[in-house]
Amino acid sequence: MAITSIKTGSSFTNLIKYNDFLAGNTAYQPTAYESIATVTVGSGGSSTITFSSIPSTYQHLQIRGIARTNRSDAAYDIVKLNLNSDTGNNYSHHFVYGDGSGTSAGATTSTNTIFNYYVGTGFASANIFGTLVIDILDYANTNKYKTTRTLGGVDFNNGSFGFIVLGSGNWRNTNTITSISLAPQAGNSFNQYTQFGLFGIKGA
């Protein structure tokens, strides 16, 4: 049986109601924000997470994730980001952060990766993960070097330690981004339950 109408106040009011394509109605417009892939680290850990074969059909990319590494000598670690498997000194990165008691900023130029700050480690209390949102605008625009912008941080629930960080990076290459690799900077493995999702945002 076809549903021919949905009335306000009915049990169907929480459904999304789209107009049909009959003359006079606004055409259905799909969301511009789509999941491309998601990786969740299993019990064995993972040294690198790579999104490959990224389609060039979106305008922007966004990575959203939580992460914890097996670093054992400090409570915080950094997520390295490399593009298209390039590990040459073709990157720069910058940060500004607050840790609850002060602020700081820094820069690294002509380096071989982009740092994204900060995530938790095995040195921190159990089950504490850092969070990251990484935006890459115009990732398929071959007239531009690629700029990343990251909002991230972690709180360690000990009353005096944690970070909120705005970071950025630049890859001095105009190629379309087709792969993104993420790896711990000090540890050698992401812990179980680390998760990164890659999303595409349409521009047309």
Partner: protein, 166 residues
């Protein structure tokens, strides 16, 4: 489930552009997002102030900002439209800044708050990264959003995308 829809986009052509303007924004969404990948035409400093204003009004705009220069961090406030930054032609070639403006409840009847996260980038120490909280003390629904650098123009290949969230 929230939906994220493209309302309009602008790509700057070879002549550059003094500003980017989105007009006739429908009131049918709950929030607006502007994603801007931009570079400025001036030389000298490696970054330039970037402004945002609404409904062609440059009055009653205030903001608070946390920022980093690549070497130091600080905080400031202002009563202008310039609450973000873009790299200039003195920054590393072909390098464009990345800016996101988030404007919640843009069609509501309260004063309009917005947030910014912005970075310029440069293969050198000096950049300008900032997080800003801005306020337009006006209760009108936002129907126009304008972006403009304080001096100079947006260069070719600068892009701006306006999305509606509902």
């Amino acid at each position: 489930m929230a939906t994220y829809k493209l309302i309009s986009s602008v790509t700057v052509g070879s002549g550059g552009a003094a500003n980017i303007e989105f007009t006739s924004i429908p009131a049918t969404y709950t929030d607006l997002v502007v994603k801007l990948s931009a570079r400025n035409s001036i030389t000298g400093d490696v970054y330039e102030d970037l402004g945002i204003y609404f409904n062609s009004s440059t009055s009653n705009l205030t903001w608070r900002m946390l920022y980093g220069t690549g070497a130091a961090a600080s905080t400031t406030s202002g009563s202008t439209r310039y609450s973000a930054f873009v790299p200039t032609s003195s920054a590393t070639a072909s390098t464009f800044g990345s800016v996101e403006f988030y404007i919640p409840n843009y069609a509501g009847s309260t004063n309009k708050s917005y947030s910014v996260d912005s970075t310029t980038e440069n293969n050198a120490t000096t950049v300008l990264q900032n997080l800003s909280a801005g306020l337009w003390s006006n209760t009108a629904a936002i129907t126009t959003v304008t972006l403009n650098p304080e001096t100079g123009n947006f260069v070719q290949y600068t892009t701006a995308y306006l999305y509606g969230i509902s």
